[in-house]
C-alpha cells in the first residue's frame, strides 16, 4: 500500500495555525484565497481531501456496500413500485403490493412462527444469559459471546438436516422421547419453532448477556444495605434495568425468525406451509415473467420494511439500557 501525502501542520510553512485541518476528511482551504466557486484553492482543498488517509481508507468499503448492498436494495424498490400505466409507459404505484393479498396465508404463517418462536427463545435465552452472568467468569463470557454470535447465524440448510435426523419422523431423539405419542411432527409450525430455537436462543444470549454482566455489584449491595432482599432488588432494580434489553432482544429475534429462509426451505420445501421468504424464492424462480418478479420484489420490500421497523425499536431500547449501564 502506498504512503499517501498527508497534510501535516509542519509541511505547510507560513500557514497560520488552525488554517489547515489535517485529516478529518474536511477540505482545508488555503489561507488568503478568496473562496470563489471554483477557485484554485478550493480545488486543491478537494484534491488534498481525496488523498487524505481517511478517504483512502473509507473508499473501498463504501464501494462494496454501495455495489453489493445499496444498489440491489434500490433496484428491488424500483421494481416493486414500478407499474404499467394505461398509455404503456411505467409509473410509480402500489399495484404490486395489491397482489400480496394472495400471500396472506404465508404472511399469517410467518407471523405465527416468528412470534411463538421468538417468545420462547427470548425467555430461554434471557434465563441462560442471566445464569452465565451469575457465574462471573470472564473466560466463560468470552467463549459464550463468540459461540453465540456464530450460532446466531446458523440458520442454514445443514441445520435442517441435523434436525431431520434428530427430531424427524425417524429421528433418533424423536424415537427416544416418544414424541410421536404427543402428536409432534417436525414438519409443522411447531417443528419450525423447535428448529428456530437453535439459532434464536444464542441470539438472545448474545444480545442480553452484556446487560446482565453490566449489573453493578454496588446496586446489589446498596439494595441490601438499605434493607432490601434479593427479590426486592430484582423487582425494583434488576428487571427494570434489563427490560429494554430483553424487549429489544425479543424484537430482534422476531425479525431474525421472520427472515429465516434456508432451513425452512429444506424442512418445509415449497409445500403445504407457505412462509414469506419461501414465497419470494418461488416467485423469483417461477417463469411467471415480470409479474411474478414484481410481486417478489414487493414481498422483499415488505420484509425490508418490517426489518427496518424491528431495527428501529431494537436500537431505541438498546440505547436506553446502554445509558443506564454506562
Amino acid at each position: 500500500m502506498s504512503v499517501p501525502v498527508t497534510p501535516t501542520p509542519g509541511s505547510a510553512p507560513g500557514a497560520p495555525p488552525g488554517a489547515a485541518a489535517p485529516g478529518g476528511g474536511a477540505p482545508g482551504v488555503s489561507p488568503g484565497a478568496r473562496p470563489r466557486l471554483v477557485s484554485r484553492a478550493r480545488w486543491e482543498g478537494v484534491t488534498t481531501a481525496l488523498r487524505s488517509p481517511a478517504v483512502i481508507a473509507l473508499a473501498p468499503l463504501t464501494l462494496i456496500i454501495a455495489v453489493f448492498f445499496l444498489v440491489p436494495i434500490f433496484g428491488m424498490f424500483t421494481i416493486a413500485f414500478a407499474v404499467q400505466t394505461d398509455d404503456g409507459g411505467t409509473g410509480i404505484g402500489l399495484d404490486n403490493f395489491l397482489d400480496l393479498s394472495s400471500h396472506s396465508r404465508a404472511m399469517r404463517n410467518s407471523v405465527l412462527v416468528s412470534v411463538v418462536g421468538s417468545l420462547i427463545a427470548a425467555i430461554a435465552g434471557a434465563i441462560t444469559a442471566f445464569c452465565i452472568a451469575q457465574i462471573k467468569s470472564e473466560r466463560l463470557d468470552s467463549v459464550v459471546a463468540v459461540f453465540s454470535s456464530v450460532l446466531a447465524n446458523d440458520g442454514g440448510a445443514p441445520l435442517a438436516f441435523s434436525f431431520i435426523v434428530t427430531l424427524g419422523n425417524t429421528g433418533i431423539i424423536f424415537g427416544l422421547l416418544g414424541l410421536e405419542a404427543i402428536g409432534f411432527t417436525l414438519y409443522s409450525w411447531q417443528g419450525l419453532v423447535a428448529m428456530y430455537q437453535y439459532f434464536l436462543i444464542p441470539t438472545m444470549i448474545m444480545v442480553t448477556l452484556p446487560t446482565f454482566v453490566g449489573l453493578r455489584k454496588e446496586w446489589i449491595e446498596a439494595n441490601i444495605s438499605l434493607g432490601g432482599s434479593r427479590l426486592t432488588f430484582w423487582w425494583r432494580v434488576g428487571i427494570p434495568i434489563a427490560t429494554p434489553a430483553l424487549l429489544g432482544g425479543w424484537i430482534l429475534l422476531f425479525g431474525s425468525a421472520f427472515a429465516t429462509y434456508a432451513s425452512a426451505a429444506v424442512l418445509i420445501g415449497s409445500g403445504g406451509f407457505p412462509l414469506i421468504p419461501l414465497s419470494i424464492d418461488s416467485l423469483l424462480g417461477s417463469g411467471l415473467g415480470a409479474g411474478g418478479q414484481s410481486t417478489a420484489m414487493a414481498l422483499g420490500v415488505t420484509m425490508v420494511v418490517i426489518a427496518v421497523v424491528v431495527l428501529f425499536f431494537f436500537n431505541r431500547l438498546q440505547r436506553r439500557s446502554a445509558r443506564w449501564l454506562q
Binding site: 439494595n223 444495605s225 434493607g227 425494583r236
Partner: protein, 360 residues
C-alpha cells in the same frame, strides 16, 4: 428540619466495637485481630494504602463479609451473624451505586419503600433529606443527569433516609475532582455532627482522613498501627510507617546524645538514632560553612517548601518556611538545618534502652 434531627437523634449514636476481628481470604490474612471502639456520634476514619484491609473492615461491619473470627457489636449487641439487610446501617459507596432506573427522589425513598413506609411519609422524609443535602431542585432527575458530586450527595441522602444508627463511607470522594471533594467532605462532616451519627469513613487520602475525623485509625497489612486524634497522628506518630504515610517527613540519623540544634545531615545508620522531622520543625539557617545547599523552593501560598541537600551523601532536608524567610533561601544558598522543636518521632539505635527514645 429540627424535627427530623430530633427523630434521627433518638436512633442515632450507636457505638461500634470490633472485637478481635480476623479475616482471611484463602491463605492471605487481610485483617489480623482488629480491636476498635467507635464511640457514639464519633467519626473515625480508617486510613491506609490500598490492600491494607480497610475496605474489608468496613464490609464486615456492613455485613457484606463474614469475619473469620471475632465479633462485631453495635450498641452492645452482637450483630456478627445478623444479615446485612437487617442491620440498619447506612452505606455510601465509592461511585455509581445509585439505581439508574429510579429518579433522585425514588432513590432516596428506596430504603423506606422496602420498609413499607406509606407514600406520604416517604415523600416528606425524602424532601427533608434532599433539602438537607441541597438537592431539592434535582428531585425528579435521573442519576445519569447528575454530576459525580451530586450523585454522591444523593447517595448520602439515600443512606441517611433510613435513619441508620451507623453510617459507613467507602472512599466516597475518590472519584471526584479536588474542589468538589473538599466541598462534599465538609458537608458530610456537617451532617454527621448535626445528626450525631456514628460514622466510619474509609480512605487512602491522608489529608482527607485528618481533616474530617474525630479519630484516625491507620491500618497497615491488616493491623491498626495507630488510633488517635488527627493532631496526634501527625505530630506524634507512634510508628515509622505512620510517620512516613501521614504528611511529609525528613529522616536523618543523629547521635544518641543529640538534643536539638544544628542537624548533622547524615543517613540513618547503625549506632545512630533516627529522627523523623516534619518540615515545620526544621529551620534552615543561612551559613557560609553549612553542610547543605538549597536546591529548590516550592511556593504553595501561605508557606514555601524549601529543599536542601547535603552534597556529600545526597540526603535531602525539607523545610516549610514563611514567605519572608524564603527570600533568604534562594537555590544555591549554603545552609545549616536546625531542629528547634520536638521531632515527630525518634527511633533509638539498636541496643539502646527505650527510655532514651524520649525526645529532646
Amino acid at each position: 428540619m429540627t424535627e427530623a434531627t430530633t427523630t434521627v437523634r433518638e436512633t442515632a449514636g450507636n457505638d461500634v466495637v470490633f472485637d478481635g476481628i480476623t479475616k482471611s481470604f484463602g491463605s492471605t490474612q487481610v485483617l489480623q485481630s482488629i480491636d476498635l471502639h467507635i464511640s457514639s456520634g464519633e467519626l473515625v476514619t480508617v486510613l491506609g494504602p490500598s490492600g491494607c484491609g480497610k475496605t474489608t473492615a468496613l464490609r464486615i461491619l456492613a455485613g457484606f463479609e463474614k469475619p473469620t473470627s471475632g465479633r462485631v457489636l453495635v450498641n452492645g449487641q452482637d450483630i456478627t451473624s445478623v444479615p446485612a439487610n437487617r442491620r440498619g446501617i447506612g452505606m455510601v459507596f465509592q461511585a455509581y451505586s445509585l439505581f439508574p432506573n429510579l429518579s433522585v427522589q425514588e432513590n432516596v425513598e428506596y430504603g423506606l419503600r422496602v420498609r413499607r413506609v406509606n407514600r406520604d411519609k416517604r415523600a416528606a422524609r425524602a424532601q427533608e433529606l434532599l433539602e438537607m443535602c441541597g438537592l431539592t431542585e434535582f428531585a425528579s432527575r435521573y442519576p445519569h443527569q447528575l454530576s459525580g458530586g451530586q450523585q454522591q450527595r444523593v447517595a448520602l441522602a439515600r443512606a441517611l433516609a433510613i435513619q441508620p444508627g451507623v453510617l459507613l463511607l467507602d472512599e466516597p470522594l475518590s472519584a471526584l475532582d479536588a474542589i468538589v471533594r473538599s466541598q462534599i467532605r465538609e458537608e458530610i462532616r456537617r451532617l454527621q455532627q448535626q445528626l450525631g451519627i456514628t460514622t466510619m469513613f474509609v480512605t487512602h487520602d491522608q489529608e482527607e482522613a485528618l481533616s474530617i475525623a474525630d479519630r484516625v485509625a491507620v491500618l497497615k497489612d491488616g493491623v491498626i498501627e495507630q488510633l488517635d486524634e488527627p493532631r496526634t497522628i501527625y505530630q506524634k506518630p507512634s510508628t515509622e510507617f505512620v510517620a512516613r504515610f501521614v504528611g511529609s517527613v525528613t529522616e536523618v540519623g543523629v547521635d544518641p546524645q543529640y538534643r536539638g540544634g544544628a542537624l548533622p545531615v547524615q543517613h540513618p545508620d547503625a549506632g545512630l538514632d533516627t529522627l523523623f522531622v516534619r518540615p515545620e520543625d526544621i529551620t534552615l539557617v543561612p551559613d557560609e560553612d553549612g553542610p547543605c545547599t538549597v536546591i529548590s523552593q516550592i511556593y504553595t501560598g501561605e508557606r514555601t517548601v524549601v529543599r536542601a541537600t547535603n552534597p556529600v551523601n545526597d540526603l535531602d532536608v525539607t523545610s516549610s518556611v514563611s514567605a519572608s524567610e524564603a527570600s533568604d533561601l534562594t537555590p544555591g544558598t549554603r545552609v545549616t538545618p536546625q531542629v528547634m522543636s520536638t521531632p515527630a518521632l525518634r527511633v533509638a539505635a539498636h541496643g539502646q534502652s527505650p527510655a532514651e527514645r524520649v525526645i529532646v
